[in-house]
Every structure is written in C-alpha cells, then in structure tokens.
C-alpha cells in the first residue's frame, strides 16, 4: 500500500525496536538514509539498528562511526532506498517477506512492503526522509543532517545530474544554514578522492580509449590478458563505465570487459539524448536510457564492429 507523510508519521511514532535495512553494495543514499532515520527514531525514543549485506565502505565512517545499533530481536522491519527485496542480499531471506515500511524514491519500487512511502520524483531517499522529518517536526541533529546531505549529494552527483530536484537544493541550503555541516569535506571525500589503485587504473584506461564515428562513440576494451597484465580482476573495473563519456563530443561510451568464458560484458553510457537501452536491446541486452548493458560473444575486434554498427544506426536514426 502506498502511503503519505501522515501515515508514515503515525507508523514511526508507534513502532518499536526497528531494524533498518539498506541495500547491498551500499552507497551514500542508503547509508545516509539508514543512519539518518536511526537518528530520527532515537529522537522519538525508538531503538533501532541499521543492517546491510555488505560492510559499509571506509569513506562513510563519518556517518557510521557512532555504531549501527545494538543487537536485539526486531519488532519492526523498515527498508530504505530499496526498490526490490533482491537488493537486500542475505537480509532478503530473513526480512524480505515481512517489511512493514519502505521509504524510497525509485519509481521502479516493487511495493513489496506493507506500507510504502514512495516519492518517485525525489533525488534521493534522503530527500524523502528529510521532508518527512520536517513534516513531523522532529529535531534533526547535526549528524542526521550530514547523513541526509550525503545521500542527496551522492545520488545527484553533487547536484550535477538530471535527477537533481529544486527541493534537493533547498534542503542543502537549509542544512548549511541550520546545522553547520562540513559539506566541503564531505564532497571532497565523496567525489574528489581516489585510491592510488583507482588513479592508476584510470590512467591506464584513458590510454585505451578508442574513438569511432567522428568521436561520437568511445570504446574501452579490456581483455582477460590485459587484466592479467594490469593485475586487476574484472570486478575492479566496475564503476569505470562513466569514464567512457568524459571526452568532448562523445555521445555514447562503451566499456567492454572480457569475462573468463570469453564473452564480453559491455556497459553502455549515454552522454546526452541517445537511448542506450534501445541500442543494447538490438544486441540482446537492456537497461536504462543513459546506462545499459549487454553480453556479446566473439573476439574483441568482431564485438567492437558489431557494437559500432549498432551505435551508428542509433546515431543516424
């Protein structure tokens, strides 16, 4: 059942011993939403604990270091920023079928919870939680403000992407005015800082960039041999797909990674208006308009030729 702020308030004010589930591969929004909501529940006198299938990455220590909460048998199950129970990892089996409240901003939310507070037009789950707290008149602590700011900043690419709402900016302004958050340091850690390994990999990958179709298509192809050579696993190359559309004039970028079985996992990104999900569907894949993927068999050169042709058709259309 979809609910609004007033029902969500009644629920939160009357719940007890809550576990707050965040999604696997946790990011700034689910961590911020989880720990921000934990603070809010504390203001309401409700004990809570934040759980995640994975360990929270070190760079979020400034949000998590107060602890995720003591161990207790929960009476209330809440999920934040989770569109589908499959994203809960091991917690799907434990809690997936009995989530009472889900607070989310993904329009794709599967409505698996008893009650779902969904704002599909919000930048981040943290935006929804901030507005809910304001609606409820709950005091927001500085730590809570830092949690919620972090979620909004990370999901919007620091207010850079299409998904940024005017409300996201207004909330940022309110947080800066009222809670003296150290936003510049948060943003440096979220957006500017890289591990030495990542720096080096970016350097290597940028040298592998190949331009096609007058520079409108960029392909970075990494074979198993090259990964061995660089000393990296395929998984470590996750997250490099956005690099492929950094070059000026690029419309579509593709990161091709050879799997151990020889099939190429191809991650597409669109810089502007070309729908890469449509392109991927022509070669058996799919995804979103700006980020999609497909798996293609063949040697690197023949896979490239096939993808170039598919992109050429889309650009000409």
């Amino acid at each position: 059942m979809l609910i609004g702020f007033s029902e969500a308030e009644v629920f939160l004010r009357n719940c007890q011993d809550a576990v707050i589930i965040t999604h696997r591969n946790p990011d700034g929004d689910c961590i911020g939403a989880g720990f921000g909501l934990k603070d809010i529940l504390e203001q309401l006198g409700v004990r809570s604990r934040v759980v995640c299938h994975d360990v929270f990455p070190k760079r979020y220590n400034f949000l998590t270091e107060g602890g995720a909460g003591e161990d207790f048998e929960p009476k209330t199950i809440i999920a934040v920023d989770i569109a589908d129970t499959a994203l809960m990892g091991k917690y799907e089996e434990i809690y997936g079928s009995r989530v009472q409240l889900c607070i989310d901003h993904h329009i794709s939310n599967k409505k698996y919870a008893e009650k779902t507070l969904l704002r599909g037009n919000a930048t981040a789950a943290c935006e929804v939680i901030y507005d809910l707290a304001q609606y409820m008149g709950v005091k927001i602590t500085r730590h809570c403000a830092m949690c919620l700011y972090t979620g909004i900043a990370t999901d919007s690419g620091c207010f850079k992407y299409d998904c940024t709402t005017p409300r996201a900016h207004e909330i940022a302004a309110e947080m800066m005015r009222n809670y003296d958050i150290n936003f510049a340091r948060i943003n440096r850690n979220m957006f500017d800082v890289k591990s030495p390994g990542r720096m080096k990999l970016e350097g290597r990958l940028s040298e592998l960039m190949e331009q096609y179709l007058d520079g409108r298509l960029v392909i970075v192809a990494v074979t198993q041999d090259m990964m061995r050579d660089m000393g990296v696993e395929m998984e470590e190359l996750e997250g490099f797909a956005p690099m492929t559309i950094q070059m000026e004039d690029t419309e579509v970028g593709i990161l091709m990674r050879e799997r151990p079985d020889g099939v190429f996992k191809c991650s597409f990104r669109s810089a502007n208006d070309i729908n890469v999900s449509d392109i991927c569907q022509t070669v058996g894949g799919g995804g979103h308009a700006k980020a999609a993927g497909c798996n293609v068999s063949g040697d690197a050169e023949s896979v490239k030729a096939r993808l170039i042709e598919a992109v050429r058709k889309a650009i000409e259309a």
Copy 2:
C-alpha cells in the same frame, strides 16, 4: 565607494551605452555575469556590449552565441567579477581608470571603480547579479538564468567547495523551478567533459604521482625533457595542480614544472586544513591557504627534498 543594491539599481536604470568588462582568462563566472548583466540591461532598454581581453572558450558558446553586442562608443563602463584592473588585460589601458560600476564578490577587490557593489561572502559575481535583479524586479530570461547558473556552478565547483553559500543553492532551486534551465547539460560541459589531449595528459601525470610522508604529500614532477617527450608545452600543464590532491589521505599536493631556465615552478594545493601559503613563504613563495606557489632552483631531486622537508615541518607543526 561601496554601494548597495538600491544605488546599483539607480545606476543601472539610468545608464546608457554600457560596455561590460570581463577578466582575462575568462571563466564561467565572469562570462555568466557579463552576458547575464547584458540581458538584464536589455530588459531595461540599455544597449550594452561584453568585452574580454581573450576569446571566450568554445564550451561557453551556449552563453555567448547570441553575440557580445554591437560596436558603439560607450558612455558607461562596468566591470564584473574583476578584483583588480590588472586582470582586464588590454582593456586596463582603455577603461581601467574610468570604471563607473564594479559588481564583484572578491573580498580582495581593489575598489578601483567609482561605485563598487561588493558582496565578499557571495559564491560568485553571478549570485550578486541574480539578487540585484530580484531586488530590482527585472524579468530574468531563460538565457540570463543559464548565464547566472553557470557562474554559480563553476565558481562553487558545482556546489562542492567551501565557498558555496546557502543562497547559491536557493538560487539554483529558483532557476530550476522558474526557468527550466538545462542544468545537467551545462554541468556535464563544465565539469565532466575533457578534450582527448587532456584525458591523455591526466593519464600520464597520474602515473607520475609520487607519495611521501605516509601518503600525506603527493608530488608530480615534470622536467623539460619529459615535456618534450610528451609533446606538451609547460602552459598546457596549467590546471593540473588539483589532480595532486585527488588521492585519499593526501593533505598537500605539489605540481613541479621545470621552466626552460631550469627553475622549477611549484604549484601547491591543500586538501584540508594545512595552509600551503605558509609553506610556500618558507621557500620564497606565497598565495592562498589552499592554493599557493613558489619557484625553486636545482635539479628535480634536490628541489623535491627541499619541498618534502618544508611540508614535513608544516604537517608536524
């Protein structure tokens, strides 16, 4: 003389044939302020022209393509985002001594103009101009909103840096709500897009990064021989200093570039609280707390040793 909005309004409503000077090496803020103010003057029925010592970079075409204004003998001289007439380039000699109105946000402004509208706590000159237009009740066009958004976004590093004000966020929210600006595309062009040459250079420089003092200091040293090898001029390495503090744990980053005369031009950046201006002063340089520089003679290794020692002292202090 420092003036407020009311005097600035009287000035703008009564001026004629204005030339608007932007600073040399133009950036998003002075271009946005210049072309934004030109739009506002047009609303007031005042003819104006934007001038700059340098050609406006191509990536600002979406702001400048309407034209900088027809040629006429100006009766009014306005400067935007210019703290010192020395920054006007060739226009210093022509107009520097008779600027009637300066609109700026640099606390270091030399007050060279007859009237100066200075808001030293604003993120950008564009923030001052937006608030002035609101004060005056002038209609802001979509193009004007894009100009002013661009200035605020670029000077704040897309709302990332310390200098970002709550007001900057509020203005961004108002612009998104009222003028349907294509902010995501603006931000992609300002922050994410790189030339193929820059991509390649970043790759090369990231491989040259050397960590010292347990990773708290990073040095990238480029000799004349290496520049010849890479096929770049010293000037092309301008703007790469911020890369030196991208690595996690880095507190101070230094880009060392050997000049043709063998002296190393050293650009310092501070990631957090260490004052690099103080460090540079100990070796005959200076600058700002977070960005400073010095010139040091010697071979690369001895210059490095001297800088490492200076940074070590500052970190220990």
